[in-house]
């Protein structure tokens, strides 16, 4: 089928604001979401900072009785979906619910449910464990809860592709529409602050003590975050029926895996380079057409160097002509939510012809010598943009977004 896949609605919950407009405003002003972690005690750790969501009130989006029976990740996902559906001006009653589906990505799933169950079992004993909490654990409940609350009956799945999960979900949604199996796909990524993840990243010395400084010579690692991003993908013919306007067109995606190491990226970024090259070929984009790259840019020594090499490998001299920024400098690494929030960001960059900065950038690193849009947002015409993501385990996913031409 020759359907075009359009982005028609956006939703975001982030450490710098809940809601697309507040998030975008803060992103462009270079606001940092980093602070001392309040959600759990970090006294025994050497690092203490994170990017927590500060302004999410579940009752603003979800009936209290419903909130009580779903985990925090589901609450983020449901609320974000609600925002995106409203943003897309979708009237659920007027649509065929079988032709609408949900696909999300995550790293840790309902991490806080799991951690509570584990803690209660160990500290309070098996009798403290409630069935009500156990049923909230399975990752499939996240997308199932969205579908149940909004009565959406099309394809439904969850892809735990770690830090690239959002883009994996977006790719799945793209294929569902292209293959005629859905007209609308709600695609997103979600992760809540996880003590387990924080512990793990801290123990492998990946967490920065102060800020996230992607591509900076003094970068010391990532800052763990939480959040959710949703993009609504829609078949162009369906949009015409609804008489609604798209933000942008999702041109395509590509997947790859480094097959190098379970935590470290390929040192030359070969896996990401392959995904990037394949994406450009599939979407018939030449490197010089790219106006913006949303980087994976975690702020670790390894990732940022590898990503720079990957971009240079594929774009060659054109790599030096395009702005590449990492919003993880502001919102931290939100794991499974990251590339979904970055897809929201890239879409808005196209809408407004402005790219967000990489903040905390002070010292140039000879290994990272591209234009990372340091510290200030930049106005420029963005017709075509790429968003990179790489994950634990070596998974990579790249998406291409472009200005929609009817």
């Amino acid at each position: 089928m020759d359907a075009k896949v359009l982005v028609t609605g956006l939703g975001v919950i982030s450490p710098i604001g809940t809601g697309k407009d507040l998030f975008w405003q803060n992103l462009l002003s270079g606001k940092s979401g980093v602070d001392e972690i309040k959600g759990f005690d970090t006294a025994e750790f050497r690092v203490h900072r994170g990017c927590e969501v500060k302004d999410f009130v579940s009752s603003d989006y979800i009936a209290p009785l419903e909130s009580q029976r779903i985990g925090k990740a589901s609450q983020f996902a449901v609320a974000c979906t609600k925002m995106a559906i409203e943003d897309a001006h979708i009237k659920l009653d007027a649509l065929d619910s079988d032709r609408m589906g949900v696909c999300f990505g995550t790293t840790m799933g309902e991490a806080q449910v799991f951690e509570t169950l584990t803690y209660d079992y160990i500290k309070k004993g098996k009798d403290s464990i409630s069935e009500c909490l156990l049923v909230q654990y399975p990752p499939e409940s996240i997308t199932a809860n969205i579908a149940r609350i909004f009565n959406i009956k099309g394809p439904n799945t969850i892809l735990p592709a770690a830090c690239a999960a959002g883009n994996y979900a977006i790719g799945y949604g793209f294929d569902m529409i292209k293959n005629g199996l859905a007209d609308i796909m709600i695609c997103g990524g979600v992760d809540v602050m996880s003590v387990l993840a924080f512990t793990g990243f801290a123990r492998i010395l990946s967490i920065a003590p102060d800020f996230c400084r992607p591509f900076d010579k003094e970068r010391k690692g990532l800052i763990l975050g939480e959040g959710c991003g949703v993009v609504i993908l829609e078949r162009d013919s369906n949009l015409k029926k609804r008489n609604a306007k798209p933000y942008a067109q999702l041109l395509g995606y590509s997947l790859s895996i480094d097959a190098h190491h379970i935590t470290m990226p390929h040192p030359e970024g070969k896996g990401l380079a392959k995904a990037l090259k394949d994406c450009l070929e599939r979407c018939q984009i030449s490197p010089r057409e790219i106006d913006y790259i949303s980087a994976h840019g975690t702020g670790t020594v390894a990732n940022d160097k590898a990503e720079t090499l990957a971009v240079k490998d594929v774009l060659k001299e054109d790599a030096y002509k395009v702005g590449i920024s990492s919003i993880k400098s502001m919102i931290g690494h939100t794991l499974g939510a990251a590339s979904a929030i970055e897809a929201v960001t890239t879409t808005l960059a196209i809408r407004d012809n402005i790219v967000p900065p990489t903040i905390n950038y002070k010292t140039k690193d000879p290994d990272c010598d591209l234009d990372y849009v340091p510290n200030e947002a930049r106005k420029e015409r963005i017709d075509l943009a790429i968003s990179n993501s790489s994950a634990f385990g070596g998974n990579n996913a790249v998406i291409a977004l472009g200005r929609y031409k009817d």
Binding site: R69, L196, D258
Partner: protein, 397 residues
């Protein structure tokens, strides 16, 4: 389907043993693979039964060092992947192979995550071994397959529950049709561990009678069984070119979803079966055997019986392997499709074990005695309690 896709390899690690032969022999001999659990302490659990993968020498299947740092789901996945590739006669290369993909279904590496967090709670952060962190992340087993076997094609992990193994098959088909891979290992893995056994018991899902009796009057839940299972899929053209035998053709698939909260919904199963039959251009009369995804939990049995009756009108034979091999969650539908492929190839119809008389209201045409019978088309069903359902039709040609 845009391309003719076939199954050319099976890789099975199960409580019956390592390899497809031990698994299939158990199915054919109707020999249960469930036994007393000895891999963890069950003293405070009522249910002490499960399907355990017995210790085996993983090094004969998995290259490289450091196997001791890999958790059991990863070891199972790596072994099953190797077995599937060998069975498909797909050679591992010294260089990276970017045309071989992986789609692996999993609930989570629960035991690794539990142990990791338990150490933090009881002994503190400094007691945590950093090398244990990767095992806690859900895509770890699939990633290790790529690393160890140098497979750099697309690599997906899927966590949509009991139907995730068949969802993995659907994703694999999509990868091949979209020219992103030439061969894809599609399957699932789960581990039998204390946290899972405890949780299932708390949820009332485990059988008190100590047996799994799908569709039977005495059905009272399941017994959990661990393992990993991959089916290797590729185009028929590729299989012929490579000169490898074909187990079965994948004629089509269907996905059904109906909103649900912790209860299986018959309408979801009906939808997936109908969509599957339509997509396969196969009438219900042409289906010789249905491989049920049910697991002897009364709600599950009733939901699927209702769906099967609605479409197949109690005429088509119905079998269910979970009575023998237990419930393996994300891996279960992979075991099911592997069984279906073997049944088709050999012309064997396995009976439902532990079946005496149907539950009230069940009028399905249950396979009560195993038999040799030529089969042309079979339907494999999988569904969970959060609304997901996937069906696949396999055919001989």
């Amino acid at each position: 389907m845009k391309k003719d896709i076939v199954i050319t390899g099976l890789g099975i690690v199960s409580s019956a043993g390592i390899g497809k032969d031990s698994f299939w022999n158990a199915i054919k001999g109707s020999t249960t693979t469930i036994d007393k659990i000895n891999i963890f302490n069950t003293s405070d659990l009522e249910c002490k039964l499960g399907g355990q993968v017995q210790n085996f020498n993983a090094a004969q299947y998995i290259p490289g060092k450091g196997l001791i740092y890999l958790d059991r789901p990863t070891i199972f996945s790596l072994t099953a992947a190797r077995l599937a590739l060998d069975d498909a006669r797909y050679p591992l290369k010294d260089t990276y192979d970017d045309r071989a993909g992986i789609c692996l279904a999993i609930l989570g590496t629960i035991n690794s995550a539990y142990d990791f967090h338990k150490v933090k709670i009881l002994q503190g952060v400094r007691a945590i071994e950093p090398m244990n962190f990767p095992n806690t992340v859900m895509n770890c087993p699939a990633s290790h397959i790529s690393i160890r076997f140098k497979l750099t094609g697309p690599n997906l992990t899927i966590a949509s529950g009991l139907s995730a193994g068949l969802e993995a098959v659907c994703c694999g088909i999509n990868l091949i049709e979209d020219n992103r891979a030439d061969i894809v290992l599609c399957g699932g893995v789960e581990e039998l561990c204390y946290p899972t056994q405890f949780a299932l018991e708390e949820l009332g899902l485990l059988s008190r009678s100590g047996k799994v009796a799908v569709f039977d009057k005495g059905h009272d839940g399941y017994l959990f069984s661990e393992g990993a299972c991959f089916v290797a899929i590729e185009t028929e053209e590729s299989a012929i070119q490579r000169g490898v035998p074909i187990y079965a053709h994948i004629k089509g698939f269907g996905r059904g979803f109906q909103p649900a909260y912790n209860k299986p919904i018959p309408e979801a199963i009906t939808l997936s079966m109908k969509q599957c039959l339509d997509f396969s251009h196969t009438s219900h009369e042409a289906i010789d055997l249905v491989f049920s995804g049910s697991n002897a939990c009364p709600d599950y049995d009733m939901a699927e019986a209702h769906a099967i009756k609605g479409i197949f009108k109690d005429k088509t034979s119905v079998t269910a392997i979970k009575s023998l091999v237990g419930e393996s969650y994300s891996a279960s539908s992979a075991f099911n499709i592997a069984s279906a492929a073997l049944s088709l190839r050999e012309g064997f119809v396995p009976k439902i074990a532990n079946f005496n008389e149907p539950f009230d209201g069940c009028s399905l045409n249950i396979v009560r005695e195993s038999e040799s019978r030529s089969l042309e088309n079979v339907l494999v069903s999988a569904f969970g309690c959060y609304g997901h359902s996937v069906s696949v039709v396999l055919s001989k040609k």
